[in-house]
């Protein structure tokens, strides 16, 4: 397939679509390598619009890691909006990369990163626009379609559409896959596509769905999942990068051309989380905790700012205040950038006073807009169930501290539909919000303190203790959200300082179907896509009716249904669709933790307490890597004026 640029044919279409700049490419720090000089070529996709996909850290990391290799290249592609999609179909323009505007079908590998299952229909659009057969078994000299990201820990619903899924951290395995493809091509492609897939199945962390058969019981449950080909592993185990300081990516963050959802540079300060929140798939599948050292963080912040000109840096992780040296990091960075226009933020926050101090330190330059806390559960009882140990007193004290330190707006995140939840648990959120406002007014003497309650429906996820739970049906969720809104407004005096933001429960049911679905759900995705389903993560494009209709059309022949996949509680011995995919977590530990949840028994964080045998470290040969290192950030020479940034060699921190 010719790799010639599609831009001459794309360009005349661009004046006819919304935000054409997103399809142009050429961002600062983007890379365009010579096609013929690379032995292995990757097209990397984030299956959502440019404004969502561009800031994605995972994709930026892989893009750099691949492009640093002399024998490989990577270009990026994002979902095109329906207006361009229909013009591309009309004019026969295929899915293209934004870097070289090359046809995706011309690449050796097409890697798609799924942060959420709601991107599945967009995968089908991209495949179809690229001219790649939707069914993996129909492909021959087409790219190898690789799924990664958190959703790849249960890729069964898209098993028909992908050739390969990769579990866990991508930094190292992407290189190993590249090696395999290069060697296979160099050897004259022995065994063809199947030969290549067999070799890839031998790479740790790589799952090739076609080499596994799924058998079902008469009642619709899975009997077993077994390899159908010699030489492939019974279980595929996730990959874990063990020293983050050795992988300081992205070194040159992309600067978007169009407005994106995150107008900031992100620096990942640690990976993994062992807080043990039972609903949190990210915390479960990224264990153990691996910190980046304070000095490596300082160097990445400095180098990234010099190369980009961003004015805000987010210190990214699943629970950033938990870094063993977060105090020194915050203090060091605040010192370094005092008096500049660089703002610092912690995107994820913990409910305690220390966090407020941290946020204060990071916003020394003066901007104190809002602070976010995530108690997640409305009542203390429910917070024990989900293992988010925050007492009501802690919460009110923390929020008051924030108000006293000059914040006027506090946002509180909750979930609705958690296991064992009752109306009363949700109604306690209203009470909590009222008490927060009352205490905040008393503490500050001001009436202008505000609190926003943001609440969404809970979706049980694979590889978590709640993977067995019955998902709360959307009618119950919506009814509870209405009750909550009414209860907040019932007290007009306090309620007018409280905002309630919520999403209705129906998209969560579809996310639940796709999260815990098996291979039979693939036909539902295909039917929805055929009926026009696109951008399901966007409320203006999502159609519950379309998904429901597809479920009714497709699932009964298997004796299952949308409810069967979502609201049904699973028992201990049911074979789950992802049981052959190993996140390192011990299944018996997960089950015990699920039983503990139901009785409100909490579990500690193993960073500070003895191991509680979740199974990850011994199973994967990994270990917790945390400080403190005892080092500090040395002050740097201040950033130069914007115009001369390129001429100044990068200095490293400390």
């Amino acid at each position: 397939m010719s790799a010639e640029s599609l831009f001459p044919r794309l360009e005349p279409l661009l004046p006819l679509v919304s935000k054409p700049i997103q399809y142009v490419g050429g961002e600062l720090n983007s890379t365009l390598k010579e096609w013929d000089a690379a032995a292995v070529r990757w097209a990397l996709m984030y299956p959502d619009a440019y404004e969502v996909g561009l800031p994605n850290q995972g994709l930026q990391i892989l893009y750099e890691v691949i492009n640093e290799r002399p024998d490989a290249l990577a270009e990026r592609t994002y979902s095109v909006w329906p207006d361009l999609e229909s013009l591309m179909r009309e004019h026969g323009v295929g899915q293209f990369t934004v870097d070289g505007h090359r046809p995706v079908a011309a690449f050796d590998l097409f890697g798609v990163s799924f942060a959420t299952e709601l991107g599945y229909t967009n995968l089908l659009t991209a495949l179809d626009l690229a001219g790649i057969p939707l069914d993996a078994i129909d492909r021959n000299d087409h790219p190898i379609v690789v799924a990664g990201g958190h959703a790849a820990f249960n890729p069964e619903p898209i098993a028909d559409f992908i050739d390969v899924a990769v579990l866990g951290d991508g930094e190292q395995v992407v290189g190993e896959i590249t090696d395999v493809v290069r060697d296979h091509k160099a050897a004259g492609s022995p065994g063809g596509r199947r030969g290549l897939l067999l070799r890839l199945a031998g790479v740790p962390g790589v799952y090739v769905p076609r080499f596994y058969d799924v058998d079902y019981l008469p009642d619709g449950r899975i009997r077993r999942v077994t390899p159908n080909t010699a030489g492939v592993p019974f279980r595929v185990t996730k990959r874990t990068v063990s020293d983050l300081d050795e992988w300081p990516y992205p070194k040159q963050p992309l600067v978007p051309l169009a407005e994106t959802v995150h107008e900031r540079m992100s620096v990942e300060i640690f990976r993994g989380c062992t807080r043990g929140c039972r609903f949190c798939q990210a915390g479960m599948i990224t264990r153990p905790v691996r910190e980046r050292s304070i000095t490596a963080i300082g160097a990445m912040v400095d180098a990234g700012l010099r190369r980009t000109g961003f004015e805000e840096v987010g210190l990214l992780s699943l629970s950033s205040a938990d870094h063993s040296e977060i105090g020194a990091i915050a203090h060091g960075l605040a010192d370094r950038y005092e008096g500049t226009h660089i703002g610092l933020s912690l995107p994820s926050t913990r409910v305690d006073a220390f966090n407020v101090e941290l946020a204060g330190e990071l916003s020394r330059n003066g901007r104190r807009s809002g602070l976010t806390f995530a108690p997640e559960g409305g009542s203390e009882r429910l917070r024990k169930v989900i293992n988010k140990m925050v007492s009501k007193e802690d919460l009110i004290r923390t929020v008051c501290t924030a108000y006293e330190h000059g914040w006027r707006q506090v946002k509180l995140y909750f979930m609705c539909g958690l296991p064992t939840e009752t109306d009363e648990d949700v109604l306690e959120i209203a009470q909590l919000a009222h008490e927060v406002i009352a205490a905040g007014r008393a503490a500050t003497g001001h009436k202008d303190v505000r609190c926003t309650v943001s609440i969404g429906a809970f979706v049980p996820k694979p590889h978590t203790p709640f993977q067995w739970a019955g998902q709360c049906d959307w009618r119950t969720v919506d009814a509870r959200l209405r009750l909550l809104r009414d209860a907040v407004n019932a007290d007009r005096r306090l309620g007018r300082s409280v905002g309630v933001r919520y999403h209705d429960g129906r998209p969560a049911i579809i996310e639940g179907l796709l999260s815990r679905g098996d291979r039979r759900v693939g036909a539902v995705i295909r039917a929805v896509w055929s009926a026009g389903g696109r951008f399901d993560g966007w409320s203006e494009h999502f159609s519950y009716a379309r998904w429901e209709a597809a479920c009714v059309a497709v699932l009964p022949e298997h004796g299952v249904s949308l409810d069967w996949y979502t609201t049904r509680e699973r028992d201990e011995h049911e074979v789950l669709p992802w049981d052959h995919l190993d996140s390192g977590l011990d299944r018996e530990w997960l089950w015990a933790d699920w039983r503990d949840a139901l009785t409100g028994v909490e579990v500690e964080d193993c960073r500070w307490t003895p191991c509680f045998d979740c199974g990850v470290c011994p199973g994967l040969g990994s270990e917790i890597q945390i400080g403190p290192t005892g080092r500090t950030l040395l002050p740097l020479i201040p950033l130069p004026a914007a115009g001369s940034a390129r001429q100044v060699p990068t200095r490293s921190a400390s």
Partner: protein, 222 residues
């Protein structure tokens, strides 16, 4: 780069008469406030290095007295019309120029709005009829290809090349078979003869005159 004062400081950049989406331009102007004195050529090179391919900083001059906004009140556009004969365009232009007002509709974020696409047009003719303005059409365009040369005064709402084309369609049923390509060739202050004065001319003269004396704090850039 210099920042505005206040609670949420913004970089001091101002664009004058930015071209609409979907057209080419060889004449965009913007002003950047800098925090410290920089060599204009170094600033040009540094900005060029950070911009995507195809966005080129042509020239950077230190701003003399007065703002850029007072030096630009019109644009010259070239519109290539592949598949349209010069005769058809000439006939359409005669009808166009005979009108005082031509109402056209444009789709905006807030729905359809109507505007006059004639009043702001200072001149409109075939490039071939403009002395010294003839250009070789892009080689990829098929014959015939009429090339239009239009000078449009800056107005609110701004009249864009596609508005002029909509007006030609309205008065003379001129419908190009394939998408026209518009390029802004110049911006500047309209003089009595219908020509555009170089917006950076005063700065260049001021910079020359001020070689020995102290310069102003702003850098302007084209």
């Amino acid at each position: 780069m210099a920042y505005s004062a206040g609670f949420t400081p913004h970089p001091k950049i101002s664009y004058v008469g930015a071209a609409p989406t979907g057209v080419a331009s060889e004449a965009e102007y913007l002003e950047i406030g800098v925090a410290e004195r920089v060599e204009p050529d170094r600033l040009r090179d540094a900005l060029d290095a950070a911009l995507p391919a195809g966005l080129d900083i042509v020239e950077c001059v230190e701003a003399g007295p007065g703002g850029l906004a007072e030096r630009i009140d019109a644009s010259r556009w070239q519109v290539e019309l592949p598949g349209v004969t010069p005769e058809a365009v000439r006939a359409a232009l005669t009808r166009f120029l005979a009108e005082d007002r031509i109402e056209v509709e444009r789709l905006t974020k807030d729905g359809r709005r109507s505007l006059d696409a004639r009043g702001a047009v200072v001149s409109a003719q075939l490039s071939a009829d403009v002395p010294g303005a003839g250009r070789v059409p892009s080689p990829s365009l098929s014959d015939p290809c009429a090339i239009l040369d239009v000078v449009v005064r800056q107005a609110t709402p701004a009249v864009r090349p596609d508005d002029v084309l909509a007006a030609l369609r309205a008065v003379a049923d001129l419908v190009p078979p394939s998408p026209p390509r518009a390029t802004r060739l110049a911006q500047g202050l309209l003089d009595g003869t219908g020509r555009l004065a170089d917006p950076l001319g005063p700065d260049r003269r001021a910079a020359l005159a001020a070689r020995e004396s102290a310069p102003g704090p702003l850098g302007a850039l084209a």
